[in-house]
């Protein structure tokens, strides 16, 4: 049992972080950046070239042959840098198509076949034939759209959705549309009964949320060290210090549970649903709470678009809703079998 990163894992994280700091700094969203749409998809081919889109796929499928643990570590960095969550469409889409649509696989892994996300608005019916109302996330230029709920995962064409209309997004750096599926046939469908993709989807969303929780903790601590009031750094006051400590506790709890959930999947142990659901609950809550407290620690500047703090709370809300909100995660948590031992 060891929760520490191996040397190889540390190298992967460091090189990915260097790349993202250089190519995808969070500052890319500062005004006067375009307020509609998201150009992150132009970065997918670069990630594909480096193997990050198939990091946990076997080499025989064109992947790198690593595990859920390395994939989790990559998503933590994606979260830190607020990569468009549409990246989930590629990672999960690759895992879905590896068996069902191998003809699509190579293009996905190279980042040349963007797959966006659809998130249910209320109850939907998923299967070979899909019905329901959805939000399409960063789907403007995507040919394909992925849905992944506790019932199963489906890959559809964007053109399968009808009545597609633009809506202003709460997370304004993402594009958001409403769309309807009424009897559309999924190009790929994998139900939850055999090798469900859902625990992996929960894990990656959670890892991304850990990235948010860590980034906001670091921003708040950095600000508390430098911002002076009453002639002292504000971080010397217990009121601020304890807010920062709370953020550190939440981030650590989320990190550890996400590692646990990743290792359960990487080693094909029992309890994947239990640990991934726990991870989503703990990590999303950490992302929401840390993002909110980061704004508070920053004071007035935190409320502006000139600081990056607001981007993180908005993204945290997207993660909370993505493929099952807190209310639904709690139901799943209560229903999961307790992995004894």
């Amino acid at each position: 049992m060891n929760f520490l990163l191996s040397e190889e894992q540390t190298q992967i994280v460091d090189s990915l972080r260097d790349l993202l700091v250089d190519q995808m700094p969070v500052a890319r969203f500062r005004p006067p950046a375009p307020q509609l749409g998201n150009s992150d998809q132009s970065f997918w081919p670069r990630l594909g070239e480096l193997g990050f889109l198939g990091i946990a796929l076997p080499e025989s499928d064109g992947g790198i042959g690593l595990t859920a643990a390395e994939e989790m570590l990559a998503y933590r960095e994606f979260g830190r840098h607020l990569l468009s969550p549409a990246i989930l469409g590629l990672t999960l889409g690759a895992q879905l198509s590896a068996r069902l649509r191998p003809d699509m696989l190579e293009a996905i892994l190279r980042g040349r076949l963007p797959i966006a996300l659809a998130n249910p608005r209320g109850a939907v019916q998923l299967g070979e034939i899909c019905h329901g109302q959805f939000h399409l996330i960063d789907a403007k230029h995507a040919e394909w759209v992925l849905i992944c709920t506790a019932d199963g995962a489906a890959l559809l064409r964007r053109t399968d959705f009808t009545d597609v209309t633009d809506v202003a997004a709460t997370d304004h750096v993402l594009s958001l549309e409403r769309g309807i599926l009424s009897g559309a046939r999924a190009a790929c469908w994998r139900g939850a009964t055999t090798e469900s993709l859902y625990p992996r989807a929960q894990l990656l969303v959670s890892a991304y949320a850990v990235g948010l929780a860590e980034a906001t903790r670091d921003m708040a601590v950095e600000y508390a060290k430098t911002r002076q009031q009453f002639g002292r750094p504000i971080g010397s006051f217990q009121a601020i210090k304890h807010l920062c400590a709370d953020m550190a506790i939440r981030a650590e709890a989320a990190t550890c549970q996400v590692i646990f959930a990743a290792l359960v999947q990487a080693e094909a142990r029992s309890g994947a649903d239990f640990h991934s659901t726990a991870a989503k609950l703990v990590a999303v809550q950490a992302a929401l709470d840390n993002a909110a407290q980061n704004i508070q620690v920053h004071g007035a500047i935190g409320f502006t678009a000139e600081a990056d703090a607001h981007l993180f709370i908005k993204r945290a809300h997207v993660l909370e809703q993505l493929w099952g909100d807190t209310r639904q995660q709690r139901r799943l948590m209560l229903a999961a079998a307790f992995p004894d031992g």
């Binding site: 049992m1 060891n2 929760f3 520490l4 990163l5 191996s6 894992q9 643990a69 601590v221 508390a224 060290k225 002292r232 750094p233 971080g235 010397s236 217990q238 601020i240 210090k241 304890h242 920062c244 400590a245 709370d246 550190a248 506790i249 650590e252 709890a253 989320a254 990190t255 550890c256 549970q257 590692i259 646990f260 990743a262 290792l263 359960v264 990487a266 080693e267 142990r269 239990f274 640990h275 659901t277 726990a278 609950l281 703990v282 209310r327 995660q329 709690r330 139901r331 948590m333 209560l334 229903a335 307790f338 031992g341």
Partner: protein, 385 residues
């Protein structure tokens, strides 16, 4: 990064599980007085005779000399078997013993460690004072050197089970002129010495529950040979003790609480099931959340263990301690709420109401939640004092 255990570790786990299955006392643990002492020492002795005491303690003092991971496995199996926690042995096994191993003289180690493992002696802690709680370094119990003795005067408080103990790990001020962290000594005190008097203190759980004592020292003469580490180096010695308190023994508690939550879900199902589906009730939502938080708390314990195995010494474990304690306290409150109106009955000393009342100590003992947050802020995050 892995969740794997070596074949030797797996064999150790199987053997521990089998032994515990056959040997865990099935009778109820008494909650007070000599009966409790007799129960706890007998159970410790049984573990020693079975060859399971002091898993990671050195062999020459009666331990098994095994790596920390085996200690973790032992604690996991111990909790899994629902073995009674021998609280009276806690200080000896988790503070005093490890401190002696780290800092004690050869004579101190060979005299005390085997007795601790055999369950022959009970130790208590003499750190806090009426005016030195969170600010421990302000302690004033004084010890002047006279020939081959320390002569101690003052008072200690919140000493758990002091009235049932043989030995005390005692922090005294040996140099009142030195800076406050540099004038303290850590000394082994025989609780039978003349000049020690005890005042029992009842706790909030139920009437007549004596858990703490206040100790008064009136010219108590302790041999200088009982000082652990150097004179005036007691703060450093004590810090190594607190480190152990925050270490492996946490795991046992973690798993116990994970099982408690499972029992709480079953009980809530039984009690509320006729009203509405648990999943639709606010109790169900809270149970789901606590189940997730408990899993995360355990994962944090694994992280602390991973860092300890790698020889990393830092204050990161304070993150785990804060999360674990507060999650446990929240679980106890939820257990009370599941009982509904029956929560008004404090029937037995091992039921959910008793432990709810007891849970108020979790965020106070061994460093309050607020002190933990100071430590996290300053030593983990590097915020200014």
């Amino acid at each position: 990064m892995d969740l794997q255990f070596s074949p030797e570790d797996v064999r150790f786990r199987q053997e521990a599980r089998a032994w515990l299955h056959d040997n865990v006392p099935r009778e109820r643990r008494p909650h007070a007085g000599e009966a409790m002492r007799a129960f706890d020492t007998a159970w410790q002795r049984r573990q020693f005779e079975g060859g399971w005491a002091g898993v990671s303690w050195p062999k020459e003092y009666g331990g098994l000399g095994l790596p920390l991971i085996r200690q973790l496995i032992w604690h996991e199996e111990y909790a899994r078997a629902d073995a009674p926690d021998n609280h009276l042995c806690f200080v000896a096994l988790n503070h005093a013993g490890p401190t002696l191993i780290a800092r004690g003289s050869e004579a101190q180690k060979s005299h005390h460690l085997p007795k601790i493992l055999r369950g022959e002696v009970i130790w208590c802690q003499g750190f806090s004072e009426p005016n030195a709680g969170s600010d421990l370094a302000s302690l004033r119990t004084q010890a002047r050197i006279e020939g081959e003795h320390l002569v101690v005067n003052g008072s200690k408080i919140w000493t758990s089970h002091g009235h049932l103990s043989d030995w005390q790990e005692l922090l005294v001020r040996t140099d009142p002129e030195a800076p406050r962290h540099k004038g303290i000594s850590w000394v082994i005190c025989d609780m039978e010495l003349p000049g020690i008097t005890l005042r029992p203190i009842e706790i909030m759980t139920s009437p007549n529950q004596v858990h703490f004592v206040q100790c008064f020292y009136d010219d108590v003469r302790i041999p200088l040979a009982n000082v652990v580490g150097a004179i005036n180096d007691g703060w450093n010695v004590a810090m190594s003790t607190l480190g152990f308190e925050r270490g492996t023994a946490q795991v046992r508690d973690q798993i116990r609480y994970a099982y408690l939550v499972e029992k709480m879900i079953a009980e809530a199902q039984r009690r509320l099931g006729s009203d509405c589906a648990l999943a639709d009730d606010v109790i169900g939502a809270r149970l789901a959340q606590i189940r997730a938080d408990m899993a995360a708390a355990r994962a944090m314990t694994y992280m602390v263990m991973s860092r300890a195995q790698a020889g990393i010494q830092d204050s990161q474990s304070s993150l785990m301690r804060a999360m674990v304690g507060e999650t446990q306290q929240r679980a106890r409150r939820l257990a009370l709420d599941i009982l509904g109106p029956d929560g008004l009955e404090n029937r037995e000393e091992d039921d959910w109401v008793y432990f709810y009342l007891r849970s108020f100590s979790i965020t106070i003992a061994a460093g309050t939640s607020q002190i933990q947050r100071n430590i996290i802020g300053e030593r983990v995050l590097g915020l200014p004092r």
